[in-house]
Subunit: 218 residues, 2 copies
Amino acid sequence: MVKIFDRERIFRLLTYKGILLKFKSLGFIRVFSDNIAEALDISSSLVRKDFGIFGISGSQKGGYHIDRILEKINEILGTGDLQKVIIIGVGRIGEALIRYKGFENDGIKIVAGFETDHRKINPQAEIPIYPVEELRDYVRKNSIKIAIMAVPEMVSQHTYELLREAGIKGILNFTPTSIKSSEGIVVNHVNIEHELANLIYFVNLENRKDEDTISNNQ
Amino acid sequence: MVKIFDRERIFRLLTYKGILLKFKSLGFIRVFSDNIAEALDISSSLVRKDFGIFGISGSQKGGYHIDRILEKINEILGTGDLQKVIIIGVGRIGEALIRYKGFENDGIKIVAGFETDHRKINPQAEIPIYPVEELRDYVRKNSIKIAIMAVPEMVSQHTYELLREAGIKGILNFTPTSIKSSEGIVVNHVNIEHELANLIYFVNLENRKDEDTISNNQ
DNA sequence: TAGATTGTTAATCGATTAACAATC
DNA sequence: TAGATTGTTAATCGATTAACAATC
């Protein structure tokens, strides 16, 4: 049986990975749940609970072996064989992502981009840009499962259909449109407007709290 | 007293806003909690509960007035006066964000960028790019509270200190480094690697579940 | 041994959902 | 009136935390 972990826990696993790599680079071999907790501003109970759930064990004397945790995390995440990802829509954001180095840490590689604007097509580039017409064939030939969607809002629904028909199983959606994911397709959203608006809300809240405090003192 | 809503609820509020603007553009004047729930794949109980918490009321006959919900949402979010945001780090991602139109919907405007690379400085541009040395003055003179951090990972901690000293109150962090937010500063992370890795996990999970099903049938 | 940490259980907390009375 | 929807209460669910026995 495959255990199913929820989104938050998996995110936390990725955060553990990050901080453990940092600890490792600083020369540490082992960590206590407390070290991780403090670095990430969570409780050590939660760290131990997570590790328990993920089947990561330590010892009462020396805590946890960093390398052993990392191995286990990679195993759970299925890191190992390189994950090939394509980008559909090579505008500003698409291009920024294509050029972005640093996915390699997690065994992720962006292998191609797809565009409707013919001026951007460039099959000879290091990361080739193909016309969207070739999407379907490319996805099948290279058994691509993951796509990043970075097209204009207007065509997002249509693009979703294209990806679905091409056989894509997971989409990271940079479009502001919320897409109802259908049968067997996972869609995750990255909505920068919402992130900003959320941040602004909490910053203004701090202000308002301050004002409250002041008026309460009067 | 200022009510404090949690992160998830505020995000949902933003999603409500999006779908309601869509409904409105389709000519609708009113909605039922059910319409919203179905469009967003959540329960109508939750929609009504949220609305109750946010002080949005409707009628048993005609549901909710879209415009009235939108007004209330904007009121809660504090939309109205334009929110000025700066970007520190004008690399690929920073540049993509600077050029990105579409924040205006939420009353957000990127007003300036800051860079260490002198070749990128351009104070005459539509959205001017200044040297980081001018950050502090600019932030104070223009009472900027929000910054987007899009610098290389190596300098993220240092950049955080710069922003804090300049008086920034909220940071949207595009860096993979997890920053422990200190006194009175809100830090939100956008970690595209993690988003991708998370997506990949869930897609692979679907596969593994399928395999399980097959092997169970044998 | 004394002290510290893991692993785990039980308690707590909070968010979502179900259900339904009140209302139009 | 009959039917449908809101608003709200109580039930459920699940995740986090506190606490502590077991262990090194």
